[in-house]
């Protein structure tokens, strides 16, 4: 039984063992110093937010009436605010609100936007027309104005602020998912999936979705940065995190009244917002370059 099989594949005609696409993208990301720096910043704030309960800082609402608006010192490294609360402690706890708002609102935007966008891109026709017109109507209003309107409508709370930001960011993902779905639908592998009789749901779930993840991931990372600014803005306006719970935005709101006497109250939240947003943007840009299909 060792006869030569006439239709066997010739040995040596094997393709070289390329590492999978995912690990090549990862290798590219790691070689990008800006992306690593961005990732580091994001990671730092995430760790701080997660460890808030165990870090050696006072409670965020603990007032020290003997040190109201005290300048940074050993006892209060970031100073204290107008009620004698430790600014460092409020920064640490405020990181939770900011990051949570960024991640949850983008998760809401993805959960609503991607299915709608894929539906529009897959079905086309009137389904697409209805979804697209609805999306365009939302996009016609500036992002923050829309978020303020939703937040004011839903009532001031951190949860409602996240829902409001998520709803406002949703049209971005509808558009992106729709366009990417349309592009993937023209790929040969979708046609060959149809040729083996794969149904609509399986086509969308197993052939379209996995292939539109990279651009969605990039957009999501960049949108987290926008969402964090939006949460800070809503909290600044009193539509987000409610006192006494801390949030960088609401800290800025109070601090604006004491800019001349206690500038540290505004300085730290300002720097933190700047850094987190920078971090997510650097990471997002790095992901975009790493996942660029043109050189994968």
């Amino acid at each position: 039984m060792t006869a030569v099989d006439p239709v066997a594949l010739e040995p040596g005609l094997d393709a070289p063992d390329l590492p999978p696409r995912r690990s090549r993208a990862w290798a590219k990301l790691r070689r990008n110093p800006a992306a690593i720096a961005g990732g580091g910043i994001v990671l730092f704030f995430a760790v701080v937010a997660l460890l808030a309960p165990v870090l050696p800082v006072p409670g965020p609402a603990e007032a020290d009436w003997s040190a109201v608006r005290a300048a940074p010192s050993l006892a209060h490294p970031f100073g204290t605010d107008d009620l004698g609360r430790d600014v460092l402690a409020r920064m640490v706890w405020g990181a939770q609100a900011s990051l949570l708002a960024g991640v949850v609102s983008v998760a809401i935007a993805l959960a609503l936007g991607v299915p709608l966008g894929m539906l529009a891109g897959y079905r086309r026709g009137w389904t697409d027309a209805v979804i697209s017109r609805f999306t365009e109507a939302l996009l016609a209003a500036p992002f923050l104005i829309l978020a303020i309107a939703f937040a004011a409508f839903l009532g001031p709370s951190l949860t409602n602020a996240m829902i409001a930001i998520g709803l406002s960011a949703m049209p971005l993902f509808v558009r992106l998912a729709r366009g990417q779905t349309m592009a993937v639908m023209t790929e040969d592998y979708v046609e060959s999936a149809r040729a083996i009789g794969v149904g609509h749901l399986a086509t969308v779930g197993r052939y379209v979705l996995p292939n539109i993840v990279p651009p969605l991931l990039v957009q999501a990372t960049l949108t987290i940065a926008t969402a964090i600014i939006a949460e800070a803005s809503l909290s600044f306006l009193g539509l987000g995190q409610q006192p006494p719970a801390p949030s960088w935005g609401s800290m800025l709101n109070v601090a604006k009244n004491y800019l001349e006497v206690a500038p540290w109250m505004a300085l730290w939240p300002g720097i933190a917002i700047f850094l987190v947003v920078l971090g997510f943007n650097l990471l997002g840009d790095g992901l975009r370059d790493a996942l660029d299909p043109r050189d994968l």
């Binding site: 006439p6 239709v7 066997a8 594949l9 010739e10 094997d14 696409r21 592998y189 046609e191 060959s192």
Partner: protein, 324 residues
Amino acid sequence: MSALLEVRDLSIAIAGAARPLVDHVSFDVAAGETLCIVGESGCGKSLTALALMGLLSNPPLRRTGGTARFRDRDLFELPPRELRDLRGGEMAMIFQEPMTSLNPALTVGDQIVEAVRTHRACSAAEARDRALEMLRRVRIPAPEKRLGEHPHALSGGMRQRAMIAMALANDPALLIADEPTTALDVTVQAQVLDLMVTLQRESGAGMMLITHDLGVVAGLADRVAVMYAGRIVETGPVAAIFDDPQHPYTLGLIRSIPALSGERRRLATVPGTVPTAAAMPPGCRFAPRCPFAGPDCRAAPPLAEITPGHRVACHRAPIEEKAA
């Protein structure tokens, strides 16, 4: 014996266009038989195949007439659900571009399993066993390893073998192959074609092979249909087509095959180009390029039988070859 697939007067047009891209095309495929459809790019070969699979991308492309009976069912009258059950089940298709026809996000094994489980009620383990068996049948080395790999780790030839494994996973009665080897290296082409012939013999399936490579036709076909500008101009057993071509276009195609032996000569070509859909002449569509054309070619020639099974659409047929 009745045909597995009977296509009658199939016409396909772009919405709004005056002339169809595929014009009253009729042919049969019997079980165990290989029908080669030959013609140059844009003659409607692939459109015909896609229409049969129900994969014409509507709205722009539309079937405007004709029937296709497959195992006594009209493919064009089937509800979408039943047509989807047929696709990849009793009827399978192999595409031209193995490099892009596999989903880069799924492993090769997952994709074959997908083909199996779409059509059979079986457990994941059974489907996986079937996928492994198929990879063995298409002679992919180290099939267990390949099962878990993504398509990018496979060469073009191996990907086409994987595509064949997918297409044959449910033992189709009819296999439609649209230029399955065009994108492959010449050495790999021969291997893949040999493989397809072997598997077809094993399964007894009917095959409709679309190609523009006459070498492939000579090696594989039982019968041949030559298409030109959306119409079948000549059809018959492979021997008749090669030994006694009757349509001037077929003649031109065969004379343009380069020979490896014998006297070196300038390669014959068919002068001119295919007219665009807008400039299509009335009557015989080949007339503007035909050396034998005359005034009567303004009327469309019928596809007439000149010897049993050999039909030609030409007013000049049968050509008196001996006189030349």
